[in-house]
């Protein structure tokens, strides 16, 4: 056997093998242009304006020319069921926008990638809104990136207020008085609501529950009694309906006030389904507290962006999220989308009407950050309680006691 010949033939093979082995892995981490595949992104209806999504995708395309991004818009109504099914499957969407009250459930069940080690790779991560960061944190690990927040205030018709000779109130008693004056001024309109409040609108009920203490505390009960009184006297909205169509209803011109998010101004004044001529007639003021001069704490809603634990493109998914939550597109989210950005460094972007909503976020609260809270929402405990109160089926103490028992049971892992 010719050893020399063997040696010469082995070396090239070994070199080729090493090269091949490197060739299989290096491009994915070093050259984005060689990345291929399809990234599936689920965003919620009404979250990012189309221009922002298009901008992010364009930037992504520049970096990853061979990766296709499919952004699919989901509806809030049945999202819980859809997410359960998607995460149970073998190829869930890579990036999912999750309502901030839903994250704990999916993180605890192992559906989301632990991104604690990647936190610093996201822009503004040191100044993220605390409440959103908390919603992403489960057992001290980070499972999502804060996306945006929303807090509610009262949107009102300035022209109706002027005509009725009233100004935005600074207490709940004042709200009732102003509302009653508006009702009197529009007594000839059988469809008029001074404060349009659909019965299942539980987010808007939280400021009344949060006077102090828990749901069944006497203060909360007093708060709900006040709300019931407001709804009875000022609202002609469906007591068994939800808030999904309140902006379209507002645009019809028979409503003076609604409790709404900042971005809903855009829906009210949109050419499709809204009324653009209302743009100059809208004002906003914070939900007043029972203590004159103070504002009520509001629910800080919002969304986070998570990467599926089973995703085959986790790096791409995180990079897409980093682009959307980067300063450039976050600024657009605040200025074009009218939502509260994910970082305190941009809270100054709220101008005009938006500033009222941005300021409301400063006095905000969050629901219990429990993996079972999503089940409380899906079981409709609070909407059911409100409907029973508003329709007179149950007195406030009975309704709150029943809801409180049910919430405790679900939070403890029961049904």
């Amino acid at each position: 056997m010719n050893l020399r010949k063997t040696w010469f033939s082995v070396v090239p093979i070994a070199v080729a093998l090493v090269a091949a082995a490197c060739g299989g892995s290096t491009p994915s981490s070093t050259n984005p242009a060689d990345e291929t595949g399809t990234l599936t992104v689920w965003l919620m209806n009404g979250s990012a304006p189309k221009s922002v999504v298009d901008g992010v995708n364009a930037d992504f395309k520049v970096k990853y020319p061979n990766v296709t991004v499919n952004v699919e818009i989901q509806q809030w109504g049945d999202i819980g069921t859809k997410l359960d099914t998607a995460y149970a499957g073998s190829s869930p969407p890579d990036v999912v926008e999750l309502g901030n009250t839903l994250v704990a459930k999916y993180a605890a069940a192992g559906a989301l990638e632990d991104i604690s080690g990647k936190k610093s790779s996201f822009a503004n991560s040191s100044t993220w809104l605390q409440s959103l960061t908390d919603s992403c944190t489960v057992t001290k690990k980070l499972y999502c990136v804060p996306y945006y927040a929303g807090s509610r205030a009262i949107i009102y018709r300035k022209d109706f207020f002027t005509a009725a000779g009233v100004t935005p109130p600074d207490s709940l008693d004042g709200l009732l008085t102003v509302g009653q004056k508006l009702m009197t001024a529009h007594s000839s309109d059988p469809n008029f609501s001074a404060l349009y409040y659909p019965g299942k609108y539980w987010y808007a009920a939280l400021p009344f529950v949060w006077w102090q203490g828990t749901l069944s505390s006497s203060n909360s009960q007093q708060g709900l009694t006040t709300l019931d009184n407001l709804v009875t006297k000022l609202s002609r909205a469906d007591k068994t309906g939800d808030e999904a169509k309140q902006d379209q209803a507002f645009a019809q011109g028979h409503i003076a006030m609604i409790i709404a998010n900042g971005w809903e101004v855009g829906v009210i004044t949109s050419a499709t389904g809204g009324d653009p001529s209302l743009a100059d007639k809208l004002g906003a003021f914070p939900i007043p507290s029972h203590v004159a001069g103070q504002t009520a704490p509001v629910f800080l809603g919002g969304s986070d962006l998570g990467v599926a634990a089973k995703s085959k493109h986790q790096n791409l998914a995180n990079d897409w999220i980093a682009m959307l939550t980067g300063s450039k597109h976050m600024t657009e989210m605040a200025t074009v989308g009218g939502v509260i950005p994910n970082t305190t460094s941009m809270l100054g972007l709220g101008t005009g009407l938006n500033s009222v909503f941005f300021n409301a976020a400063k006095n905000s609260k969050f629901v219990p950050n429990s993996e079972n809270w999503a089940n409380v929402e899906n079981a409709n405990v609070l909407p059911d309680m409100l409907v029973k109160i508003f329709t007179g089926q149950q007195k406030v103490p009975d309704a709150t006691a029943a809801a409180s028992t049910r919430i405790t049971s679900i939070l403890n892992g029961g049904g």
Binding site: G80, D84, A111, R236, D242, G415
Partner: protein, 317 residues
């Protein structure tokens, strides 16, 4: 007279004959029925078995994602049987089913009898309308019903107010559950009438007219002719229709779910909605499965009588 005698065929081997006969009598029936058994097993027994299996496990979101449940025996059944809400749901479902089935049966019978009497053109028109109702997808038709009973813009409130039935402006059909369930019964019955009417009408065409005529000659009134002549002849069809309606109405889901914007309050829970809420709403799939199993058991009890009668009728025939 001569008789031609043909030579017999050579005798086959008797043991082979016997084996073939044995195979034919023992194996052939099974071979013939096996495709049906396989199909029924695949589409009925397997999912039902899985459902029972699931109902004996704790199966939440974590287990769903890991594809691995935790065995809890009969715990799920214990917890639903002590739940007062579950008792209400069972009673509500039974009453709802009873109301729907009775109304469907009575209205469909009247309609099918009417169809016998009317002119051909009218019959074609009515039948077309019925088929149209039947052919409309449930979600679409329930959405339209929802608009009609809408609180603010519903045509029903407008019509009733215009007709001076009362002041129905901003009348909420669903804030009183009894009234709301009444509307839902209406929607379900509306959707169920076409099938039952057409089936009964087909049955009525088989009733011999001479028997009816004879009864009439003997002095039987319209009611007597129906009760003593037509109804007994139609009994097998009635049994089948009652049985199917009971099964469908007991498991009603779409109408309630869509009509109430996918967020029905607990006053509107029927057993199917309750099972769905427990399974998908609060991600307790094991618990939801146990409710579904109870639903199947209740249905078996409720329909047992009808199935037994149907079998009897079939045996007599």
């Amino acid at each position: 007279m001569g008789v031609a005698i043909l030579a017999p065929d050579p005798e086959p081997d008797p043991p082979m004959l016997r084996r073939r006969a044995w195979l034919r009598s023992n194996f052939l029936p099974y071979a013939l029925i096996s495709p049906s058994v396989a199909v029924i097993g695949g589409i009925l027994a397997f999912p039902l078995g899985m459902l029972v299996w699931l109902s004996l496990q704790h199966y939440g979101l974590r287990e769903l994602i890991a594809h691995q449940g935790r065995w809890v025996g009969l715990d799920n059944y214990r917890s639903i049987l002590v739940d007062p809400l579950f008792h209400q749901v069972i009673v509500r479902s039974l009453l709802f089913t009873f109301a729907c089935v009775v109304l469907t049966l009575v209205l469909s019978t009247l309609l099918s009898l009417l169809l016998l009497k009317v002119r051909r053109v009218v019959r074609v028109l009515v039948m077309s309308a019925l088929v149209f109702v039947w052919a409309t997808p449930v979600i679409v038709s329930v959405d339209i019903w929802q608009w009609m009973f809408d609180y603010e813009f519903g045509v029903m409130n407008y019509l009733l107010t215009q007709l001076h039935v009362g002041n129905f402006i901003h009348h909420n059909w669903f804030d009183n559950p009894v009234q709301g369930l009444g509307v839902l019964v209406l929607v379900v019955v509306w959707g169920a009438i076409p099938f039952v009417t057409i089936t009964l009408f087909a049955g009525l065409l088989q009733v011999p007219s001479d028997v009816i005529d004879a009864a009439q000659v003997d002095g039987a009134g319209a009611w007597q002719r129906f009760w003593f002549v037509t109804a007994p002849i139609l009994k097998p069809i009635f049994l089948i229709v009652i049985c199917l309606s009971t099964i469908w109405d007991f498991g009603v889901f779409n109408q309630i779910y869509v009509m109430l914007n996918a967020r029905p309050s607990s006053d509107y829970f029927t057993i199917a909605i309750y099972s769905y809420r427990e399974s998908f709403g609060v991600t307790q799939y094991g618990l939801g499965a146990s409710i579904a199993v109870v639903m199947v058991i209740v249905l078996v009890f409720v329909t047992f009588f009808y199935v037994r009668e149907t079998v009897k009728v079939a045996e007599i025939a």
